[in-house]
């Protein structure tokens, strides 16, 4: 049974009143939902609150969940919307405004191969030392919230372009554009850091 089918079976059990099935769904997705919320909201407690709220909202709405989309795209959409609501309520909005309709300005050309040469294409946990982890957070923080979300949903949660379009309620062309610029900017920031500022910050584990 695929993950989507397994989720659908769990959702049906929850719709039949089985709360233990909902626990399985929570435990399956709580870390990813929390990581997504933490990528939008800077505060851990706020992210935890939004994560909890997202699951409660999903539970309340599960009776009307048709299962046409996967449970995970649904819970990610709820989480993203709650994060946006939270930012609006608390006047935080985006630290970096972004408008898809505006022409894109080059994010800065990243010197090619710096990331992969220094870290390898499959870096292990040990490379994520404090300094690099902080730089990663800093780089993410320089992205508009929309870019952070799409990058996490694509790279961490593995959503397809179609699923991203559905989850974020944007056209597929916008998905491609946002992803392109989000990656380009992240690579440029990290490459600058790795190339010059902190030569000892990371070690290529594959070497």
């Amino acid at each position: 049974m695929s993950g989507v089918d397994a989720d659908r079976a769990l959702v049906e059990r929850v719709q039949d009143g089985d709360r233990d099935a909902f626990r399985v769904l929570v435990e399956r997705y709580q870390k990813r939902v929390y990581a997504l919320a933490r990528s939008v909201l800077k505060d851990s407690e706020e992210a935890a609150d939004v994560t909890q709220e997202a699951f409660i909202k999903a539970f309340r709405s599960l009776a009307s969940f048709k299962g046409e989309a996967g449970f995970y795209t649904w819970i990610y959409r709820i989480t993203n919307n709650l994060c946006i609501d939270f930012l609006r309520r608390h006047g935080g909005s985006e630290t970096v405004p972004y408008d898809d309709a505006l022409p894109d300005t080059p994010a800065g050309e990243a010197p090619a191969a710096v990331l992969s040469t220094r870290l390898g294409t499959n870096p292990q946990r040990s490379v994520l030392r404090r300094e690099l982890a902080d730089k990663l957070e800093d780089a993410l923080g320089q992205l508009p919230e929309k870019h952070r979300v799409i990058l996490i949903l694509r790279e961490v949660d593995g959503l397809s372009y179609e699923e991203l379009a559905e989850t974020l309620e944007i056209p597929k062309g916008t998905v491609m554009s946002r992803l392109f610029h989000a990656r380009a900017k992240m690579q440029a920031i990290l490459a600058d850091y790795l190339a010059g500022d902190a030569p000892e910050a990371a070690v290529n584990e594959e070497e």
Partner: protein
């Protein structure tokens, strides 16, 4: 596109025109994400084999993805213990005996049946009630006629049946069987 020189080998060699770097780079993301149609993916693949710079950019994208996954993993591990318990405890509604039977789709089925029964009752009761009321009226007239014909009118022409409605909403006709006659009353005096 040209056929192989050896006609015994049904191999079709594809002449690939190397993409310009700019065009290849526009497609790199989709190539990495598996979103390119096969002909375009083949063209990008061919470009990558001869262009170290674009190949390096693709590798950088893979590194970035891996870093973000490591970050998410570390964040997820920072979730407080018992987090799922807290979520489950905060869910609306509480488990109850036979809750599984009354919840979800079963509950909807039961509610549907109850609603159907209620509609049926709403339609049927006025009819039954009307029949009951008509029946009581007929009984009342019959009782009055009978009371009149049964000698009561002869012995106590002033006596009339007592008609009242009981707690069940039924019309009751009560004919006092042994009401004292004026003569008997007079005897007591």
């Amino acid at each position: 596109m040209k056929k192989s020189e050896d006609p015994s080998k049904a191999i079709v060699e594809v002449e690939l025109t190397n993409l310009p770097c700019g065009q290849a780079r526009e497609s790199l993301e989709r190539f990495r994400d598996g979103d390119l149609p096969p002909p375009e993916a083949t063209a990008v693949q061919a470009h990558l084999s001869v262009c170290p710079a674009c190949a390096a950019r693709l590798s950088d994208a893979a590194t970035l993805g891996a870093l973000l996954r490591l970050r998410a993993e570390a964040i997820g591990e920072g979730l407080p213990g018992g987090f799922s318990d807290a979520i489950l405890a905060a869910l609306p509604g509480r488990p109850r005996p036979f809750g599984w039977f009354f919840a979800g789709r079963r509950r909807n089925l039961i509610l549907g049946a109850v609603a159907l029964a209620a509609v049926a009752a709403a339609v049927a009761l006025p009819l039954v009630g009307g029949r009951m009321r008509r029946s009581a009226a007929v009984r009342l007239r019959a009782a009055e006629d009978e009371a009149h014909l049964r000698g009561a009118a002869i012995r106590r022409p002033e006596a009339k049946p007592v008609v009242f409605e009981n707690d069940l909403g039924q019309t009751v006709v009560w004919v006092a069987p042994d009401a004292p006659s004026p003569r008997q009353q007079g005897d007591k005096r």
